[in-house]
Subunit: 373 residues, 2 copies
C-alpha cells in the first residue's frame, strides 16, 4: 500500500444495484459546485448541519449549491450525541415543511455522524422518502457512519434503536475539513479506522502501525490513504450485505461493549469512537478467552489503540453492580437474538465472526478491567 | 359481479416480488390460529391495539397467537387520529424495548387505520425494520389503509408527512369485526369503497348503487363483495406502482381536499373517511369544471356518497379567509411539486389522472360550497 497525494480526487464505488453510489475523497471539495455534478438539481436543497460545523463550512456549501438549486435552505441542530433523538429530528421536519419542501427536495448532511444519521433518517421518513447527500466533516463519519445507509436516532434504552436503511446519493469526504477537527474527535475517528485491520486486512493494520504518528499529526497523505482504504473495506462489506442479515455485522467489532459504555455513561459523555476503541479491547480479550486469538495479537491491537490516544480500560458504569449493568445494556443490542448476546469476535487476525457468547465470559472480561496481562 | 357467502375464505394476492403477500378476507378469523399459519413463529409477538378495539378483540388474538410464539405481549394506544404522532409511536418503541424484542419480533396491528399506520411505521423503524401483520378491524382499514405498505404519522403541518413504505407479511380482514363498528365509522369506510368506482371500475359503482342499503345494514354477503373488490383494485394499483411514483396516486382521489379538511378542522374532528367523502365531491366538481366529466356523473357520485351518510358540503375551516386556508393546507400535500397543487381528477367515469390545477379553480369549487347545482 502506498500513500497518494493529499489533493487526490479518489472515488470508491458502492455497488448496490439501483442504489449504487460513489464516495468522493479529496481536498477542498465542499466549496466547489463541481463536487455535486450529476446529482439531481433544480428543486429545493435543505442543508442540515450543527452549531459547531455550520460556522466553519455552511456558507461554503450553500454557495456551491446555490447555482444548482432553485432554493437553498439550512437547518442548524445543537451539537452532540445527546441530541440524537426525536425532538431534534423534529426540527428537520419543521424546516422541510416550513420551506414547502416536496418529494424532489434533496437533503445535505454537513457534519459528523450524528448529523449524518439524523439527516439520513429524516430523508428516509419525510413524505416516506426523499434523497440525501452525505458531506461528512469528521474522520469517524468519513470512514464509517456516512457510508452504507444506516440512519437513525437513539432511544433511552439503546443506541440507534429507531432508524432506517436509506442510502445516500453520494458521499463527499473533504479531507480539508479534518484540519479543524478537535484532537479528541480525530482519535475517535481513528478507532473506526483501526477496526478495519483486525476484521478484514492485517496489511492495513501493519500500515496503521507504521503511520499512526503521521495520522495523529494529520499528515494529508496518510489521512487520504486511511480514509480511502477504510471506505473500500466498508464498501465491499456493505455491497455484499446491505441490510445486515449476516456479514455486515462484522463492522460492529467493539460496538456491543461500546454501545453499553455509551449508554451506561450517558450519551455524549464518551464519544462513540472512544467507546468503540475501548470496546475493541474488550472484544479482543473475549476472543482471546475463547481461544480464537493469542495474547500477542491482543497486545498489538491495544498498543495501536493507545497510540491513537483512545481509552483501553472499561469504565465503571454502575457502582453497585457494574457487570450486570453491562450485560443488561448489551441485551438491548440489535444483534441480540432470543435473549442471547451476540458478539463480533476476531476469528484469527484479519477475520471476524458473529456468535453468541455466555454472558459469564463477558462479565469475566469486563471485571478483569481489560488491563493488559 | 355476484355476491359470495359471508364466511367465504377469500384471498387477494398482492404481487410485489419478494415483498408479495396475501389479504385474507373472511369471518371469525382473528381468534383462529389457522389464520396465521405460514407466518414466522417462535419469537416474540407484540400486538398493538387501541383502547376501543382491545376490549373487543385483543384477548381473542392473543389466544390465537400464544401457541405460535415464545412470548406474546401487547401495547394499547389511546384511540383516535389526534394521537397519530410521535409520542404515541414512542410508546410502541418503549414496549418493544421493555420486552426485549429483537429483529425476529413480529408486530401485529389490531385496529383501524391509525393503529395500522403507526404499527407499520414502528415496524419499519424498530432496529431499522422488523416484520408486521395487519389485522384491520374497521372497514376503512380493511379496504384501504392496511393494504399497500404506506405507514406513518402526522405532523402539525400535514397528514402522514413522516413515514415509510413498509409492506406487511399478511393482511387479515375479519368481516365479523365490522359488526361492532360504530355507524359513523362504517360510513367513513364506505367513502374509500365508493372511491374505487369512479377511479377504476364503473361496474363496481353500479353494484354499490344497487347494494348501498345492504352495506349500510351490514349485510355480510354485501360487505364481503365490497371488501374483496376494493382490495383487488388496490392490489392491482399497488403492484404496478409500489412507491407512488405515478399511477398509485389515483388512490388519493378526494384526498387532497380531504387532507385539508382534516387538518383545517383539527385532526380527529372529522374522520378521515368523512373528509375523503366530501373531498371526492369537491374533486368531482373540479373535474366537471375542467370539462372532464358531466354534471350527471357528479350528481350520481354525490347521491351515492349521501346514501352512505357522508358529508358532501365543504366545511368552513377559517372564518376570515376560508379559501386561502384550504390552498395553504393543500400546498403541503405530498403530491404537490414545485409549489403546484396536483389533484386526482376523474378523466371520464372509471378513469383517474393526476395533474396540477390552478388554485383559483380549486377556490371556485370550494366557494361554490360544493352544493349540487
Amino acid at each position: 500500500m502506498t500513500a497518494s497525494t493529499a489533493n487526490l480526487q479518489n472515488k470508491v464505488h458502492i455497488d448496490l444495484g439501483e442504489r449504487s453510489y460513489d464516495i468522493q475523497i479529496g481536498s477542498h471539495l465542499i466549496g466547489s459546485s463541481a463536487t455535486f455534478e450529476g446529482l439531481p438539481d433544480g428543486g429545493i436543497a435543505l442543508v442540515v448541519s450543527n452549531e459547531v460545523v455550520a460556522p466553519l463550512y455552511l456558507a461554503s456549501l450553500l454557495a456551491a449549491l446555490r447555482p444548482r438549486h432553485a432554493q437553498v435552505h439550512s437547518v442548524v441542530l445543537p451539537d452532540g450525541e445527546s441530541h440524537k433523538e426525536w425532538s431534534t429530528l423534529q426540527t428537520i421536519f419543521d424546516g422541510l415543511l416550513k420551506h414547502g419542501c416536496d418529494r424532489k427536495t434533496v437533503l445535505y448532511a454537513l457534519g459528523g455522524g450524528v448529523v449524518g444519521d439524523m439527516t439520513g433518517f429524516a430523508a428516509a421518513c419525510y413524505m416516506r422518502g426523499v434523497s440525501f447527500v452525505q458531506v461528512p466533516t469528521t474522520l469517524l463519519a468519513q470512514v464509517d457512519s456516512s457510508v452504507g445507509g444506516k440512519t437513525g436516532i437513539n432511544h433511552p434504552l439503546g443506541k440507534n434503536m429507531v432508524g432506517a436503511f436509506h442510502q445516500p446519493l453520494r458521499v463527499v469526504c473533504d479531507l480539508s475539513a479534518l484540519n479543524t477537527l478537535p484532537e479528541r474527535e480525530l482519535s475517535a475517528g481513528l478507532a473506526e479506522v483501526i477496526k478495519y485491520g483486525p476484521i478484514a486486512d492485517m496489511a492495513f493494520m501493519t500500515w496503521l502501525e507504521d503511520h499512526m504518528d503521521d495520522l495523529m499529526q494529520r499528515d494529508p497523505d496518510a489521512l487520504a490513504v486511511a480514509v480511502k482504504r477504510s471506505c473500500e473495506i466498508k464498501a465491499q462489506v456493505v455491497a455484499s450485505d446491505e441490510r445486515e442479515s449476516g456479514l455486515r455485522a462484522i463492522l460492529n467489532f467493539g460496538h456491543t461493549f461500546g454501545h453499553a459504555i455509551e449508554a451506561g455513561m450517558g450519551y455524549g459523555s464518551w464519544l462513540h469512537g472512544e467507546a468503540v476503541g475501548c470496546g475493541m479491547v474488550l472484544a479482543a480479550r473475549l476472543s482471546q478467552r475463547l481461544g480464537l486469538v493469542d495474547a500477542q495479537f491482543v497486545d498489538r491491537l491495544v498498543a495501536l489503540i493507545q497510540r491513537a490516544k483512545l481509552p483501553t480500560v472499561a469504565p465503571v458504569i454502575d457502582a453497585s453492580d457494574n457487570a450486570s449493568r453491562y450485560v443488561e445494556l448489551m441485551r438491548h443490542d440489535k444483534k441480540a437474538e432470543a435473549g442471547a448476546i451476540r458478539f463480533v469476535l476476531i476469528d484469527g487476525p484479519g477475520r471476524a465472526m458473529l456468535r453468541p457468547v455466555d454472558p459469564a465470559l463477558a462479565i469475566e472480561v469486563i471485571e478483569s478491567g481489560c488491563r493488559i496481562a
